[in-house]
Symmetry: C2
Subunit: 158 residues, 2 copies
């Protein structure tokens, strides 16, 4: 029952969680979203640090990030976005694969605006902590399926 | 004595603070760096939100961000980078011009790793607070001049 999948650093990502695919990047939903609509964008190629990406991959990754940002901001009825890369262990990176966090933001979503980052930092630590309760594959697939409709794209892992 | 300058949202940026210029983007030093080497990258065009950039501007902005990231990580002897956009007021944006924060990170640079974001959030608020003590033009120009050497580029505002 393996089905099509993508690599996300040391993790295997089911294609059902992927709602966007460009030539060099994918957008996918999150096991532990920090806010509703918190999604990730990664280059298809497994590369640990931002500096290792080719110019073409950088362009594709952030054009994908821009496209996805517009959709999640609209779909999750937010008014702003926090966009961040934790590039390297001292910046809080745990998954060894470049990924852009997109977080739709709303007035009062955190008691203090920058509390989002505490949650984000905790989030990445939890990606390697299998004891934490994660969302089910079904829940993630459902969200990905709703988002995929905006892009009119069929996602497979080819 | 106006000299060449660039627009940074509602602010005027002296060319002496700009250490990198590509076709569509600039990299410049910071009045109130959160960590040593905290620099900003912006599209030349004054655009408030990330979603308003053209695909070409997105590619150029992040290729510039990648190039600059490598230099500041090396120059400031750090081992990781926090890269972030506060896109919209609910994400903490105060300067109405898209800008990417690049922060070189080191082991123990903050008591807790994600305290960097508290500092970053405070930083953007201070950009509109003229009572705060900012670095002098001279101090900023000196740092920009050192960084510009890595790029072998002559910066003017044309």
């Amino acid at each position: 029952m393996a089905g099509p999948s993508f690599k996300f650093g040391q993790h295997v990502l089911q294609a059902s969680c992927v709602f966007f695919k460009s030539r060099l990047s994918i957008g996918f939903v999150n096991r532990k979203p920090v806010v509703p609509g918190h999604v990730l964008v990664s280059p298809l190629r497994v590369v640990e640090r931002f500096g290792e990406l080719s110019s073409e991959e950088v362009a594709d990754l952030f054009q994908a990030t821009q496209t996805i940002s517009g959709v999640v901001e609209k779909h999750f009825q937010s008014s702003s976005l926090t966009i961040a890369i934790q590039d390297g262990p001292e910046a809080g990176q745990t998954v060894k694969h470049v990924h852009v966090h997109i977080l739709p933001r709303r007035v009062g979503d955190f008691p203090q605006n920058d509390d989002v980052y505490h949650a984000l930092d905790k989030h990445d630590k939890q990606m390697t902590d299998s004891d934490e309760r994660w969302r089910s594959e079904e829940e993630m697939a459902e969200e990905a399926s709703v988002l995929a409709k905006y892009f009119n794209c069929q996602v497979d892992s080819s």
